[in-house]
Amino acid sequence: MSDSLHELYQEIILDHNRHPRNFNKITPCNHQAYGHNPLCGDQVTVYLFLNPNNMIENIGFNGKGCAISIASASLMTEKLKGKSVPEARQLFEHFHNLVTGKTNKTDLTEEELDYLQPLTVLSGVSEFPMRVKCATMAWHTLVAAIDSPALPTIKNQIP
C-alpha cells in the first residue's frame, strides 16, 4: 500500500465511514441544506440548530457517499458542535487550505494542529486532487445551511 494511500485511508477515517457520528436528522432543526456532487451522485443533507447567539447547538447529517465524504461530514459534525458560526466558517477556511494543499500539515504549529484536530486526519486528500470535492462537500453544504433562511416551523415545533 502506497504511503499516500495509507495516509488517505487512515483507520480513523475508515472508522468514521463505518460508524458515522451524528448521522441523523436532528430535532429541533432550524437550518438545513442539501448538497450533491453531480459527477458521482454523492449527496448529503446537513441539519443545524443555531441558537440566538449564532452558536451551533446541534448538528447532524445524512446522505450517501464515499468514505472520504462520509468521514469528513462525520468529523465536521463532531468538531462543530458548540462552535459559533464565525468559528465554523474560519475552520472551513483552514480545512479547505489543508485538503487542497495550500497549507501543508507539517508546516502547522502545535497550536494550529490542536485548533484543527481531528480534521487534520483528512490532510492526505491533498495528494488526491480529484477527491478534494469529496472532503469538502459536507462543509459547502454546511455553509449553505447557515446562509439559508431559518425554518421557524421546525424551530418551534413541539417534539
Binding site: M1, Y9, L14, C66, A67, M130, C134
Partner: protein, 410 residues
C-alpha cells in the same frame, strides 16, 4: 505484486498506442475505454501528416490544397458510410459527436414528427445524451416519454417493447449497447416492430461501433449515431446515419455557412443533405482522423476484435465472480465488454482511487446513466470497460487492486 496470468494474448495491440510507451504509463491498465479510447499511432500520425501537408478549408477553394483537403474529407465520409453499411454517402452527416447528432434528430426530425400526445419510447438504460434531447423534445411538443424496462438479468426482450409501443409512438430511441452495464438491445427486431406502427428508430451506437460490426441496412434503423473519440479516433467528431428519404424531408438544425443554397435577408433556401445539416466549417481533420481510425479497425477486422475482447471479457467475469462481497450488475448471457460492479464495503470512488494507485484506470460514478443506477438502486458503480489494447495482465492487475480494496475496507 501481481498475480501472474497463465494466459498470453495472441496479438499485442498495446504496442500500437503511444500512450503506453510513456514511462509513467508503462504498466497502466487502462480499463475506461467506454468513456474514451486511447488513439493509435496510425490515427495520430496520419492526422498530423494531414495538418502538415494537405490542410485547407474544404468545399470552397479552387486551389490545390483545398482540393486535396476536400477529397480527404469526402473520402472520410465514404469510409464512415461503408463502416456503417449505409447505401450512399449522402446519408452520413458529420457532427461534433453523438450528442450533437442525437440533438439534431430530436430537432430536425422530432419537431415535425412528434405532436401533442404522441409518444417517444426510450429504454431504461440510456445514456443522458439519449434521454435529455428527447425530454426537451417532449416539452417542446407536449409529447410523452415512455420507458421500457429490462428483464431481471438486465437484458431486454422484444416483448417489453411490444407491450409499450402504440399507434401514438413516433420515435423509439435506444442504445445498441448500454454504456454502464453492457446490455445489448435487440435493435433489429425493435426496428421491425417500430415500423409496423410507423415509428422511427434512432439508435445510439456509441458503445457498439467499437466492438461489433454495424450495418444500418441490416438493422433497418432510421437513424444511427456514433462518436469518434470512443472509436480510437479524435475528439470533436461524430457521425449520424439518416435514411435518405427522411433526411430529405427534414428542415435544417443549425444555420450557417455551407448548409444553404442561397441567402438573402428576405429569403434563404437550404442545400440538399448532408450539407443541409452541416452548418459552418466541419471538424475537417476530426473527420479525416475518424476515417483513419476506421481504417485501423478494418485492418484488424471485427472478427479478430470480437474474438480478442470476448476472451478478455470472459476472463474478467470469471475473475470477478471469485471475489466475495462483489456484485456484477446484470447477469445476462451476452453483453458488450463493459462491466459495472458494486462492492458491499467500498464506495466506487474509493475503489477507483485505490485502483489508480495500482495503475488501473476505471471509472466511478453514474456514467451519465442515472436512471440505470436508479434501476439497480445504487448511487454509482465502478465500471470496467475493455478496449483493443487490453490484455489478461490488465485484468490481473485489476483483480489485484480489488483485493487491496477489500483489505482496506474489509
Amino acid at each position: 505484486m501481481q498475480v501472474p496470468s497463465t494466459h498470453t494474448p495472441t496479438v499485442n495491440y498495446r504496442n500500437d498506442f503511444p500512450v503506453f510507451r510513456q514511462k509513467e504509463n508503462k504498466d497502466l491498465a487502462f480499463l475506461d475505454s467506454a468513456s474514451s479510447t486511447q488513439k493509435p499511432d496510425f490515427v495520430l500520425d496520419n492526422m498530423q501528416k494531414f495538418y502538415q501537408s494537405s490542410y485547407a478549408n474544404v468545399h470552397r477553394g479552387v486551389y490545390g490544397l483545398s482540393a486535396k483537403a476536400t477529397d480527404a474529407f469526402e473520402l472520410a465520409r465514404q469510409k464512415i458510410q461503408h463502416f456503417m453499411g449505409a447505401s450512399t454517402k449522402d446519408e452520413i452527416i458529420l457532427t461534433s459527436g453523438s450528442t450533437e447528432a442525437i440533438n439534431l434528430v430530436a430537432h430536425s426530425f422530432g419537431n415535425q414528427a412528434v405532436n401533442q400526445g404522441d409518444e417517444i419510447i426510450l429504454s431504461q438504460f440510456e445514456h443522458h445524451s439519449n434521454i435529455v434531447p428527447w425530454q426537451l423534445l417532449g416539452q417542446r411538443r407536449k409529447a410523452v416519454i415512455k420507458v421500457v424496462n429490462p428483464q431481471p438479468d438486465a437484458s431486454f426482450n422484444l416483448e417489453s417493447f411490444r407491450q409499450i409501443i402504440s399507434k401514438r409512438t413516433k420515435i423509439i430511441a435506444i442504445t445498441h449497447v448500454s454504456n454502464s452495464v453492457g446490455s445489448i438491445l435487440p435493435v433489429r427486431d425493435i426496428c421491425t416492430l417500430a415500423h409496423e406502427v410507423g415509428a422511427a428508430v434512432v439508435i445510439d451506437g456509441c458503445q457498439a461501433a467499437p466492438h461489433i460490426p454495424v450495418n444500418v441496412q441490416e438493422i433497418g434503423c432510421d437513424f444511427y449515431v456514433l462518436t469518434g473519440h470512443k472509436l480510437y479516433g479524435p475528439t470533436g467528431i461524430g457521425a449520424l446515419f439518416g435514411r435518405k428519404s427522411l433526411l430529405e424531408s427534414m428542415p435544417p438544425f443549425l444555420g450557417g455557412g455551407h448548409m444553404i443554397r442561397s441567402v438573402s435577408f428576405e429569403e434563404t433556401t437550404f442545400a440538399e443533405p448532408p450539407a443541409r445539416f452541416e452548418a459552418g466549417t466541419s471538424n475537417i481533420v476530426g473527420a479525416v482522423g475518424l476515417g483513419f481510425a476506421i481504417d485501423y479497425l478494418n485492418r484488424i477486422g471485427f472478427n479478430t476484435i470480437q474474438h480478442h475482447e470476448e476472451k478478455l471479457l470472459n476472463y474478467l467475469l470469471q475473475r470477478l465472480s471469485d471475489i466475495k462481497g462483489l456484485r456484477i450488475l446484470g447477469n445476462m448471457e451476452k453483453r458488450g465488454p463493459v462491466v459495472s460492479i458494486i462492492m458491499d464495503s467500498a464506495h466506487p470512488h474509493d475503489i477507483a482511487t485505490i485502483l489508480d494507485q495500482h495503475g488501473v484506470a476505471v471509472r466511478a460514478g453514474h456514467h451519465c446513466a442515472q436512471p440505470t443506477m436508479k434501476w439497480f438502486d445504487v448511487v454509482g458503480t465502478t465500471r470496467i470497460s475493455l478496449g483493443l489494447y487490453n490484455s489478461m495482465k490488465d485484468i490481473d492487475q485489476l483483480i489485484d487492486g480489488l483485493m487491496h480494496v477489500k483489505k482496506v475496507f474489509g
